[in-house]
Amino acid sequence: MTATVTAPPPTLAATTSGRRKFKNNLATVLVTSSFVVAVIPLVWLLYTVISRGLHAITRDGWFTRSQRDITYKDPGGGAYHAILGTFEQVLLCSIISIPIAILVGVYLVEYGRGWLARTTTFMVDILTGIPSIVAALFIYAVFVTAFGGSRAGWLVSLALVMLMIPVIVRTTEEMLKLVPNELREASYALGVPKWKTILRIVLPTAFTGILTGIVLGIARVAGETAPLLILVGYSPNTNGNLFNGFQGSLPGMINDQVANIGNTRVLVNGRPVSIHYAADRMWGAALTLIIIVMALNVIARLIARRNKVTN
């Protein structure tokens, strides 16, 4: 970090007029309080999710059972199907995105030249800004409307690919540009061909940074919902097949349960009872998703700290 906070030299304080001092203090107060204001929703949201979701996920079977045959009137069930679905969709997305994105990053820094490089970087910029719903619409337009396929989990992965690639491309590009020219020169002077230099010297040097970008990219797509709405139906049952049929997912489960959080009155033995099963499950799924995303972010930070120590 290159923050530029330096203390003002001990000036002739007496010459700073009261008015200027007041403005300065006011600015300090406003600036500091803006941070406080921003922290409030964060703390509030996390507190809500944790407090309302905790006993759902600590209940027996949350991580091992699905929502099969569970209606809003029934308690219990778990999120296994959702966790599996999200895991599989993100995994397929990663397998496709990561190699392509790294290669594109390498292209832009080491090989790119002229109109193709400029166009490619422009296209990556477009991908950076594409709303997730539009990416989902595109996959739908190609694979469902045009090719007549049916909705399934792998289409979600494809939409996520469009969202993950730009993150990793940019990170790879920036990290490769950080690798000092001297290392490349040292390798070239040893008579190592360019491709080997990139694969064995440049990329390994930049590896930690690229890895961090990958982890953050995964964290970003794990919580995407728009593709799920368009490209796959939500299934409360466990479906491990990405290529066939509806599939559960954590955002999908949240979305599924939220529809029922208003249905809080049922008759049990003829007596009206107030239930919160859907709300519990919704917050439980939300908490599970947040835990996964936060864990990924923490991993990225740990990589940073470890990297600092060994250096």
Partner: protein, 259 residues
């Protein structure tokens, strides 16, 4: 067998810009030649044409010939990568590969140039190279530690070891001591005297005293005028250059009237 280097009518370009004009020189095997001159006069540029590193910069190219023992390295069918395997280079700032240990750094050239080497063979070459660079005693107990953990002078000797590990014919050194303190500098200058028994050495330096100390022959480069390309003004035995140069410009530079 160290090789003789002949430069013939070299015109060196960065894109369309002519940086160095019509340079010709001869360097005898197993000798030390110094390239001196003010900043920006092209001495590093000429050095880099000897191992075809100049053209690595996008848009740069060279006209003319450089011959190693009579073979033109700029001929049509010559692969620059092969040329660079015969010629080693040490840079101004030490640049060991950060992800590799000391051992791996020295072995890097051999491993990355392809071909299988067994461990015993590698061990032998690594030790030999580190001894040749006067670094063995200091690092023999920590060969698998990171190369970047050494001090500046040690890192530069590591880079020298890395360069000689692939058994080049020629060793090019581009201001190898300018980032080092005086004591490390002396250590490297001593090393050069030993290395010249095996390799042809060309060293670029902005330090005239260093040139006088280490080299047998010296080439003085200069810009003919601001904005004009650099040129080789005079090349002769070091003693003569520093005591009784032929060209007035050389004399002006040596006596500090400019530079």
């Amino acid at each position: 067998m160290a090789k003789r280097i002949d430069g013939k009518n070299l015109n060196i370009y960065y894109g369309k810009f002519l940086a160095v004009e019509d340079v010709s020189f001869t360097i005898a095997p197993r000798s030390v030649t110094a390239f001196i001159g003010p900043s920006g006069c092209g001495k590093s540029t000429v050095l880099r044409t000897i191992n075809r590193m100049h053209e690595v910069i996008p848009g740069a190219h060279v006209e003319g010939e450089v011959q190693l023992d009579g073979d033109n390295i700029y001929a049509e069918n010559v692969d620059p990568v092969d040329v660079r395997r015969t010629i080693g280079m040490v840079f101004q700032r030490p640049n060991p590969f950060p992800t590799m240990s000391i051992y791996d750094n020295v072995a890097a050239g051999m491993k990355l140039q392809g071909g299988r080497k067994n461990k015993g063979e590698l061990d032998g070459v690594v030790e030999q190279s580190l001894r040749g660079a006067n670094l063995w005693e200091e690092v023999k107990d920590r060969l698998n530690k990171a190369g970047s953990g050494l001090s500046g002078g040690q890192q530069q000797r590591l880079c020298i070891a890395r360069a000689i590990a692939v058994k080049p014919q020629v060793l090019l050194m581009d201001e190898p001591c300018s980032a080092l303190d005086p004591i490390s500098t002396l250590a490297i200058e001593d090393l050069i005297q030993t290395l010249k028994e095996t390799y042809t050495i060309v060293i670029v330096t902005h330090n005239m005293q260093q040139a006088a100390r280490v080299s047998e022959r010296t080439a003085f480069f200069n810009l003919s005028a601001t904005g004009r390309p650099g040129e080789l003004v005079e090349m002769d035995e070091t003693e003569k250059i520093f005591s009784n140069p032929t060209d007035k410009r050389t004399e002006d530079y040596i006596s500090g009237r400019f530079g």
